[in-house]
């Protein structure tokens, strides 16, 4: 069974149809890229999947279960991790504490009033950070971290509830080229190892074509192409959209 099934979701803002009837599915362990020019509806699509926006029509199913219109925190409880285009972490806490928060929430221990956080789930958080190459930074405050490192922290937080699906909105935006490749390689490795379905949007075509198993192309709110990287690269409609918008269309 596919991890995520999306069926004809639609969203309008005022008179503008941002997303018009998009359907697709993501399989366990698969890296699926959602690309398209600016304003194609990628972020809107994304926000409907994890509950930040409610679709006007259509269904979203996670492992066969209908999650359409649930709140983000309910979607998270069902096993969807999420990273943001602009990183959102807890600036007054250390890297380790950020991950601990996700772990504590996953174990439903946030209501506890007595035991100090310092002693709870610290080992598990450190293990997760080590897996992402962040062990050395665990004690540093998130507020002073370099942007590339914040992206890794976000990934660690998103992995804390052992998700079936990972949603990554522009995971490498704002990173140096080398960091991009290593972060995506890491993500792909973890996804395959744990059978996590990954859906990501991305502007960097190098990242997309070297790491995606499959690609969806969105233009003006509708899917115009879907398939393996090679097929998408040669699709005449995709070439038209991208040449028209002036972006590079791969190598």
């Amino acid at each position: 069974m596919a991890t995520l099934e999306v069926e004809g979701i639609q969203k309008s803002f005022g008179g503008v149809q941002a997303v018009r009837g998009v359907s697709f599915a993501v399989e366990p362990g698969e890296m699926l890229a959602l690309i398209g020019p600016n304003g194609a509806g990628k972020s809107t699509c994304f926000n409907m999947l994890n509950g930040q926006l409610r679709p006007d029509a259509g269904r979203v199913r996670l492992q066969g279960r209908d999650i359409t219109g649930l709140k983000p925190r309910e979607v998270w409880r069902l096993g969807v991790g999420r990273t943001f285009q602009i990183t959102a972490t807890f600036g007054s806490m250390t890297v380790r504490e950020n991950v601990q928060m996700a772990l504590l929430s996953h174990h439903r221990r946030l209501g506890q009033l007595w035991r100090p956080v310092a002693r709870m789930d610290a080992a598990e958080a450190d293990a997760l950070l080590a897996r992402l190459g962040m062990a050395g930074q665990a004690g540093r405050p998130c507020g002073i971290l370099a942007y590339g490192d914040l992206k890794r922290v976000e990934l660690a937080i998103a992995l804390a509830n052992q998700p079936a699906l990972l949603l990554m909105d522009e995971p490498t935006a704002g990173m140096a080229p080398q960091e991009r490749v290593s972060l995506m390689a890491l993500t792909a490795g973890i996804a395959r190892e744990r059978g996590i379905a990954v859906l990501f949007t991305e502007h960097d075509m190098d990242v997309v074509f070297s790491h995606a198993d499959r690609i969806l192309v969105l233009d003006r709110g509708a899917l115009i192409a879907e398939g393996a990287p090679q097929a998408v690269r040669n699709d005449p409609r995709v070439r038209e959209v991208y040449l028209g918008s002036g972006a590079t269309s791969g190598h």
Partner: protein, 594 residues
């Protein structure tokens, strides 16, 4: 009045307590002008308009001297600064016009009344009913038909963009503030023939106006008008049908509106401000030096009192109570990131809980002390449910409105609470009657409570509070129900404040409505801000410093509000980190620590 507030808020996003003071000044100035000018049409209407313009100029001065400097400061500090203005103006008005109520003359030409449907309506009331919509219409015209109005509306939506387009924002804000002040002054002046002018007008009207603005939706003129009409009708008919519970009725309407439409009838969600807020500092273990200082202070607090006199013991007991009160407010302000301008409500409810249990149920002291947090907690749950639904200034305004409601109930429900006379004879049991014994009891409970709160901040719950403050988006994305966390945080703070209030009641032997009045809420705010919001030791240091300071001031000076207000303003302008924050800053700089 409300329209003035909503316009100012919309553009400058400065929530303004001083607006109530401007309103009061309008009434006082109108009284002076009308009574000194020759009688007749010119004297009255000229006086009213003159007062409105004079208030406009006063508003202008306040804006240029104070507010202009703090537009970039956190909203909480802006609120606090305007509260400083309120205190200063109150004492200035007391100095100028004295404490007695002043009665104004009736409006010439509108003295009579007419009969409509068998009910007599005073002409002046009818006139006011007409004036409201006319002023509203003029404002709408001004905002939609003039270049200035367009700029103001643009600035309401996106301040930075308007600035980037080359508009002089300073002039724009100043002119808006002037207009808002004139409206406030006019509102105050027009009240003159209806009711006497007194020193409580400012806070009374500001509460009402906040309710109107919150119900109508911030920044929406038509919403404010609609809400003012609704609340006005409620008052009018409420007094006919249920004279005793009009306030509760108003509160119920506000509750219903906010549940159905969290941003008011015509309001929209606030657009997020550009730019990223500075990261809040971390909370770590106390440095060794601080631990040592704390241990020494505790040792002194335990060892010294047997050698002190009764008066010193009373003061020390109050300081201990203040520490718990400040620490409870700090929980929602610091880690919770919410502002409460009505925290005294829970302190006072605690005091009343203890006193009512003692006088009506005749329970012994420990029972009364147990009732205190229960009553405060119950109201914390109910009020908190409303307050934490909203964020930032909305929430702060609501806490204030609830505190005001709690105060008026305590003040008006004479059968139960004794009204202004309070409840007397709430004395501790025999074993705790000596001052020394009671001091130790208060110290144990207050320090215990404070340490407990500190423990909570370090526990998962406290981290969850900080998490939703740091990033609401991320908190929601990892399954944290921010609303519920804030709600329980609020309740916990209310319970702790209730304990403090109960102890205070038995310490004083009596309970008065002033225990839950706004000045006491401000006391708590000042203790927290004086000490510094961002450190855990802040509220403790602040409580000690503030309680000591206030005790001296009230003893020495008649016009202590004036001094206190000035201190607040200076604090906001020059000392935004508070005492503990400043100490930490110097400490870290000296040790080369980032």
């Amino acid at each position: 009045m409300a329209s003035g507030l909503t316009v100012i808020f919309g553009v400058s996003r400065i929530v303004n307590f001083a607006h109530g003071s401007l309103y009061m000044l309008g009434a006082y100035l109108a009284w002076t002008l009308v009574t000194s000018l020759p009688r007749g049409h010119l004297g009255f209407w000229g006086g009213v308009l003159g007062a409105a313009l004079a208030v406009g100029v006063i508003g202008l001065v306040v804006e240029m001297l104070l507010l202009r400097r703090i537009y970039r400061a956190p909203e909480l500090f802006q609120l606090l600064a305007t509260f400083g203005v309120v205190l200063v103006v109150q004492d200035l008005a007391l100095l100028t016009w004295g404490a007695q109520d002043l009665l104004g003359p009736r409006a010439p030409g509108l003295r009579g009344s007419v009969e409509i449907l068998g009910l007599r309506f005073p002409l002046y009331e009818l006139f006011l009913i007409v004036v409201g919509p006319v002023v509203l219409g003029l404002l709408l015209l001004l905002f939609h038909r003039t270049r200035w109005g367009t700029l103001v509306r643009a600035a309401t939506q996106d301040r930075e963009m308007v600035g980037a387009l080359g508009v002089n924002q300073r002039m724009l804000f100043t002119s808006v503030f002037f207009l808002g002040s004139v409206l406030a002054g006019l509102g105050g002046a027009l009240q003159l023939p209806r009711e006497s002018v007194n020193l409580h007008m400012d806070l009374a009207i500001i509460t009402e106006a906040f309710v109107v603005v919150v119900v109508g939706g911030l920044g929406s003129l038509s919403g404010a008008a609609l809400a003012a009409l609704l609340i006005g009708e409620l008052h009018a008919f409420g007094i006919l049908v249920f004279p005793k519970i009009t306030l509760v009725l108003v509160f119920l309407v506000m509750a219903v509106v906010l549940v159905v439409r969290p941003h008011g009838l015509r309001g929209k969600p606030q657009p997020a401000a550009h730019g990223v807020a500075a990261a809040e500092p971390m909370i770590g273990a106390a440095p060794p030096a601080l631990k040592l200082a704390g241990a020494v202070a505790l040792l002194l607090a335990v060892a010294l009192p047997p050698f002190l006199g009764d008066y010193a013991l009373t003061v020390l007991t109050e300081i201990a109570i203040c520490i718990l009160f400040a620490a409870s407010l700090h929980l929602i302000m610091g880690p919770g990131g919410m502002a409460s301008f009505g925290h005294a409500a829970y302190f006072g409810l605690g005091a009343y809980g203890a006193a009512l249990a003692a006088t009506w149920l005749g329970v012994p002291m420990l029972g009364g002390l147990a009732m205190a947090p229960v009553l405060a907690g119950i109201f914390g749950v109910v009020f908190g449910w409303f307050c934490v639904r909203l964020s930032g200034v909305y929430s702060a305004m609501l806490t204030l409105a609830f505190a005001q409601i709690a105060w008026s109930v305590a003040f008006q429900w004479v059968e139960l609470t004794g009204g202004d006379n309070g409840i007397l004879g709430v004395w501790p049991d025999g074993w705790a009657a000596p001052k020394l014994a009671y001091y130790y009891l208060a110290l144990a409970l207050c320090l215990g409570g404070t340490l407990l709160l500190r423990r909570v901040v370090h526990a998962p719950f406290g981290y969850a509070l900080r998490a939703q403050r740091d990033s609401a988006l991320r908190a929601e994305a990892i399954g944290i129900d921010a609303f519920r966390i804030r709600w329980w945080g609020f309740t916990l703070a209310a319970i702790a404040a209730g304990v403090a209030g109960g102890l205070f009641a038995y310490g004083k032997g009596s309970v008065f409505p002033t225990y839950l009045a706004i000045p006491r809420s401000v006391d708590a705010l000042l203790m927290v801000l004086l000490g510094g919001v961002q450190t855990l030791s802040g509220p403790i240091v602040g409580a000690i410093a503030y309680a000591g300071l206030q005790e001296r001031l009230m003893r020495l000076l008649e016009y202590w509000r004036l001094v206190l207000g000035a201190v607040i303003i200076l604090l906001v302008l020059f000392f935004p980190q508070g005492l503990a924050g400043a100490a930490r800053f110097f400490w870290e700089r000296r040790h080369g620590d980032a």
